[in-house]
Symmetry: C2
Subunit: 156 residues, 2 copies
């Protein structure tokens, strides 16, 4: 394999990201949640009002059908409820049940992995944030090139 | 939500990582591959000799049953073949078929996302690599604490 320095850095990032994701999955698993579930709980709790599945799909950068399946499983587990308005066809809003709110609070206490950068200096943390912003902008640019206007109007 | 600076950095990393992964998925999707498939093709091609599913599981930081399902799908698609030794019970080695070798070469040409750090200065790239190594070491430490000796003897 003939990799240049960028491709080597990419491989390092990919491995690191897999390891961090796995650690996050395990920490959340200890309190009975998955990463996508915790993300939904955070977004819905943070939005302050019921939210459409489409908006969740955009905020989580995942396809609508993936989010739809995730929400159905979470509804079956009693974590979220979907309100429907029969007069308005597709109108669906997602909110947290009592059990969902408890799960949201429970996952707030799982802070070990989310504080992994505590081993960084203030300067390193700033530098990390700056690079993340650059990578994110570039990643969105690449996504747009490959898939113009992904799901309806572009939110990113 | 009451997040400290580390938890904000974590949220940024998580979003960035999701976007980059999605861009990588899309680029590989254009040549008919998924990210896990491309990883398997790279590891098997790079190893120079047939490899055990357990070793793949460790190198990809994924559970053995996940790798087993992935390999079965790839075998059905004609990308890999499994050699079995009936005298030695569980003895299985994975190698690439002709079609798998072609797919391996094809994914080498998908270089756009893997070169995303081309927008970084040399200094930034060094700094990124350094931080990735730190995060990776810390992530492995956390994984070990949560799950001592994950799959048999520890490779990481």
């Amino acid at each position: 394999m003939d990799m240049n320095e960028n491709e080597i850095a990419w491989a390092e990032m990919a491995v690191t990201s897999t390891i961090l994701r796995r650690a996050w999955e395990m920490e959340l698993g200890q309190i009975g949640l998955t990463v996508p579930q915790a993300l939904v709980l955070n977004i819905v709790a943070g939005s302050g009002e019921p939210i459409t599945p489409m908006k969740l799909s955009k905020l989580m950068h995942r396809e609508p059908h993936t989010i739809s399946a995730l929400l159905s499983r979470m509804e079956a587990q009693g974590l979220v409820k979907k309100e429907r308005n029969l007069q308005r066809g597709n109108w669906v809003r997602v909110s947290l049940t009592k059990k969902g709110k408890e799960a949201y609070k429970r996952q707030l206490t799982a802070r070990k992995v989310r504080n992994i950068t505590a081993c960084f200096s203030k300067q390193e943390l700033e530098s990390l944030n700056k690079m993340n912003r650059k990578l994110r902008a570039k990643g969105i640019e690449m996504l747009r090139e490959m898939m113009p206007s992904p799901y309806g109007e572009p939110l990113w």
